[in-house]
């Protein structure tokens, strides 16, 4: 009995701590990226237009919307409010972005993603892809590990967990 309760205790304290650090890093990353884009929406609109996937009138509206979605999702990860929603949106955004980047590269488009303002220019395509895949992997593992405890939570606490 003692052995079992010790193992349970270790699992419930150490694992959240590691994932808390991951949450803070990824949440902070998206908040930083979102703020940079929210400060200069026209530049981000041009960056979206560079991908040649959506017409300008949609791209410019996305340029105003997406940075705030990133910021709110980043805050959700840090504060753990609407946590699973934040994780799933960021995973979806990152997946779409990776696909768009690969397609743009395959089409021979010369793009800068604009994800981190001017700093993006100094990352190669491979560097971008590696960073995005790492973020996506961390998000997916976070979703997977966070979903398990929620099954035992009372129903009313699920929305603002």
């Amino acid at each position: 009995m003692n052995t079992v309760s010790t193992i349970n205790y270790q699992l419930s304290t150490e694992r959240p701590f590691v994932w808390r650090i991951v949450d803070l890093i990824i949440g902070g990353l998206f908040i930083y990226a979102g703020i940079l884009k929210a400060l200069d929406p026209m530049r981000f609109a041009v960056d979206i237009d560079n991908y040649k996937t959506v017409p300008w009138f949609i791209g410019v509206r996305l340029a105003f919307y997406l940075p705030w979605l990133e910021i709110l999702c980043g805050l959700a990860l840090i504060t753990r409010k609407l946590y699973l929603g934040g994780l799933s949106i960021l995973a979806a955004l990152t997946s779409i972005f990776i696909m768009a980047t690969v397609v743009a590269k395959a089409r021979g488009l010369d793009i800068t993603c604009g994800c981190f303002g001017h700093a993006s220019k100094y990352l190669s395509f491979a560097g971008h892809l590696a960073l995005d895949l790492a973020i996506l992997a961390a998000l997916l593992v976070s979703i997977f590990s966070a979903r398990k405890p929620s099954e035992v939570l009372p129903r009313q606490s699920v929305l603002f967990r």
């Binding site: 929406p41 026209m42 705030w68 910021i71 709110l72 609407l82 929603g85």
Partner: protein, 137 residues
């Protein structure tokens, strides 16, 4: 998870709409550049010496060929090239910025930065870019 996702998606509209309202007069909602801020090759040529041509393409493309008399000013070396450009600029002259094609956005970015950062008003993006200039050479 679905409820949280929807909640976040809806919440993000609030600051986004607020920011869009704040920028409503500064943004071109229908095209990357308003028609009033573009210029055709023929019109730009008619300005003669009253126009300064700015090449926003990367260095290697500029070195291959460019509009005669054009000044190199691209985003890759913005800080380095802005000074020499401003040395040739005078307020009565119009600026014509071009990049490779109609669909490239380098000229739009350079024109936008010239307006916002260098506070130059008469900045125009060349319709069709370098390709169009070559056709009408």
């Amino acid at each position: 998870m679905l409820k949280q996702t929807v909640a976040l998606i809806l919440l993000a509209f609030l600051p986004a709409i607020g920011e869009a309202i704040y920028y409503r007069h500064k943004v071109s909602w229908q095209s990357p550049v308003p028609a009033s801020e573009t210029v055709t090759v023929d019109l730009a040529r008619s300005w003669g010496d009253n126009a300064i041509w700015v090449d926003a393409r990367p260095d290697n493309e500029f070195e291959r060929d460019h509009v005669p008399g054009a000044i190199r000013l691209n985003e890759d070396r913005w800080n380095e090239l802005l000074g020499p450009f401003l040395a040739t600029w005078s307020p009565e002259k119009k600026i014509v910025v071009y990049c490779s094609t109609q669909s490239c956005n380098l000229a739009i970015e350079v024109a936008r930065r010239l307006r916002n950062e260098a506070q130059i008003k008469d900045v125009f993006v060349l319709q069709g870019g370098w390709e169009e200039w070559l056709k009408k050479k």
